[in-house]
């Protein structure tokens, strides 16, 4: 396939997915719950009939659901107006932006560490197949797969706080709030150790498994035999011929995993009371703060879809078979 066609197809697919998410969001929060005013301003707020009517007009709720209300909502969302959180009494957009950085920091650290460790370990396991390294790595990834994320978090929390004196939650100790950066940074790092470790263990198993099967598949290819026949040592073959080919699926996996990454963040932030989007999502769920839930879902879904698209574009630069042609 032509590279341009490939890209266009991927972009088109992403747009369609985006559209589906937007429509889903609209249907779930505006159409299904019945009384739309309640859906917008909250169930427990007492307001007069006049105010209700004013709100009805403001949100266009007196007009037909489709297309009028839908288009109004679409316009508001595209301007970043995601409504007002019931529990926090603040615009949802503002709340989301404030939490986004913390979550990206946590997810980013966890992903980078798990990719490096997972790829290295998977490479070793696949190369030295059926040896102790391989069996050990497989056992690890199997158990990492079967452990519920939040439970792993709880165990690490209990162990880390009891034996290592690590903080049990949050990002920064209350006493350090507002202190200069050189006191805050080590404190933040201290707080990040356990949540990052949890995420790393969680993600690593999968990268390892994919790398292992990918490297095994590549090492079974004919061009590896050619490289060996050329007189290269195993290490040379691995480094020059196998690594790049085997890494290609990892790029795709990072993209596919983004959704999974978000799940991990929700659990880990909940367990460690880490002040990010995930924790906020859980709080919104418990407090039944629907505008917040809706906004967070929209933000997460859109980010994951866009990141997926970026990974697809990146892939075309890495694989010459897609790049040219």
């Amino acid at each position: 396939m032509n590279r341009r066609d490939y890209l266009l197809r991927k972009i088109f697919f992403s747009l369609v997915t985006l559209a589906i998410v937007v429509v889903l969001n609209f249907v779930l929060f505006r159409v299904l719950p019945g009384d739309p005013v309640r859906a917008v301003i909250g169930r427990n707020v007492r307001i007069s009939a006049d105010t209700q009517q004013a709100l009805r007009e403001q949100f266009g709720l007196d007009r037909p659901v489709f297309p009028d209300q839908f288009l109004t909502a679409l316009g508001q969302w595209s301007r970043g107006n995601l409504g007002v959180s019931w529990s926090l009494r603040k615009p949802v957009g503002e709340v989301l932006v404030a939490k986004l950085g913390n979550t990206l920091l946590l997810i980013g650290l966890g992903q980078v560490l798990s990719i490096i460790l997972g790829v290295a370990l998977g490479l070793l396991a696949g190369w030295k197949r059926k040896t102790a390294v391989d069996v050990g790595a497989l056992t690890f990834s199997l158990i990492a797969w079967a452990i519920p994320t939040f439970w792993l978090g709880i165990i690490l929390l209990a162990a880390g706080s009891t034996w290592l004196g690590l903080p049990t939650g949050g990002i920064v100790s209350p006493s350090n709030v507002g202190k200069p950066l050189y006191t805050v940074l080590p404190d933040v790092a201290h707080h990040l150790i356990l949540p990052t470790l949890t995420l790393t263990i969680l993600y690593m198993g999968e990268y390892m498994l994919i790398m292992r099967s990918s490297i095994m598949e590549v090492l079974g290819e004919d061009y590896i035999l050619t490289a060996k026949a050329k007189g290269m040592s195993h290490w040379q073959v691995l480094r020059r011929h196998a690594l790049k080919n085997a890494m290609l699926p990892i790029v795709t996996l990072i993209a596919i995993n983004l959704g999974f990454t978000v799940s991990g963040a929700i659990y880990v932030e909940t367990v460690f009371s880490y002040d990010g989007l995930g924790k906020m999502f859980q709080t919104a769920l418990v407090k039944q703060d629907y505008p917040l839930l809706q906004g967070a879902f929209l933000l997460l879904a859109v980010s994951v879809i866009l990141a997926n698209m970026l990974a697809d574009i990146l892939y075309t630069y890495l694989d010459p078979r897609v790049k040219a042609a």
Binding site: F13, P148, W151, G259
Partner: protein, 330 residues
């Protein structure tokens, strides 16, 4: 005897013999079986009920009591026996997991067979749907769906909602797997022959395709069960379970919310987690072994050690400095 039955019996025997030789599969089967038995015979495994509060001689509730003869896994914040909750929790966790897993398997197989067998726009449409579901982050989607459904005030148990949401979202991998398998079976000679003699679609699917992919479906279902059990535990941990019918995940939700960690009540938060691992690990081991037996992987690759030479060369060659590369015609 019915020849088809003989054939089936021979295959099953063959299967059992291979399976028995596989230690991983046996361990998996053991884990799954014990979990199921614990769930079925829960009342026999404990003298208490899960909601019963244990009290000391003075009538005070024994809260956060460490393991003892009376309560082998201690008590929780309300003085209830953790072991009893654990075996009764198995019922909820496994039932939700199994039901959700079966729904996912059923939808996945149905879509996979339809897409693979009919091809064309049906295939295209179904595969695009799975693509979309793959891209949307699953946990936020589930949480949002559950929240919405709860808002509707339907008078159903939260567990039913969990079963349906998990079942209706986790069928995509099955659908893809089944589809590719059906695609390859469809091209086989006997299917062509069946079609040539005028067999209908339903007949071909039922008589030729379904028997071929059944083993795959079984293996995949076992794998999906593990996913379903894990997802259920996560959702229950986030508070979406039924507090009146606690699963392992709900137990962990209680333990976490009621500060079992800070109280050092490890007997409250360790066992449910280990139970979840027990069941999921069992399903994964069992499923992987079944899959591998039906679909053997690559035997070896090109960098797997050096080729061994067992022969003993008769006598060392005198002129061999630095290998052949340097010896011209020597």
């Amino acid at each position: 005897m019915n020849p088809r039955w003989t054939l089936l019996k021979r295959n099953l025997l063959d299967f059992w013999q291979t399976f028995r030789r596989n230690r991983m599969g046996l361990v998996g089967a053991f884990l799954v079986l014990t979990a199921v038995l614990a769930a079925v015979f829960a009342p026999l495994l404990s003298p208490y009920t899960p909601t019963e509060t244990m009290r000391d001689a003075g009538g005070r509730a024994l809260t956060f009591a460490p393991p003892s003869v009376h309560a082998p896994l201690g008590t929780d914040d309300a003085g209830r026996d953790v072991w009893t909750q654990l075996v009764y929790g198995a019922r909820i966790s496994l039932t939700v997991g199994f039901l959700a897993g079966f729904i996912a398997m059923f939808i996945g197989s149905l879509f996979g067979i339809t897409a693979g067998y009919f091809g064309g726009w049906v295939d295209n449409l179904l595969m695009r749907i799975t693509d979309v579901l793959l891209v949307i982050p699953d946990l936020p989607l589930i949480l949002v769906l559950v929240a919405t459904v709860r808002q509707l005030d339907l008078k159903v148990s939260p567990l039913v909602i969990l079963v349906l949401v998990i079942g209706l979202l986790y069928w995509t991998s099955t659908a893809r797997l089944i589809r590719s398998q059906v695609l390859s079976i469809k091209e086989r000679q006997y299917v062509y022959r069946a079609r040539a003699i005028g067999a209908g679609n339903w007949h071909i699917v039922r008589r030729h395709i379904l028997p071929q992919i059944m083993p795959l479906i079984v293996a995949n279902t076992v794998l999906i069960l593990s996913t379903a059990i894990l997802i259920e535990s996560g959702l229950a941990f986030l508070g979406l379970g039924d507090p009146t019918q606690p699963s392992w995940g709900t137990m962990l939700n209680f333990a976490f919310d009621r500060n079992a960690v800070t109280n050092g009540a490890w007997w409250f938060y360790l066992p449910p987690g280990l139970a979840i691992i027990w069941a999921t690990l069992g399903c994964v081991l069992l499923g992987n072994v079944l899959e591998e037996m039906l679909n053997p992987r690559l035997a070896s690759h090109h960098l797997e050690g050096e080729q061994s030479i067992v022969t003993h060369p008769p006598a060392p060659f005198p002129a061999r400095e630095g290998g052949v590369a340097k010896s011209d015609g020597g």
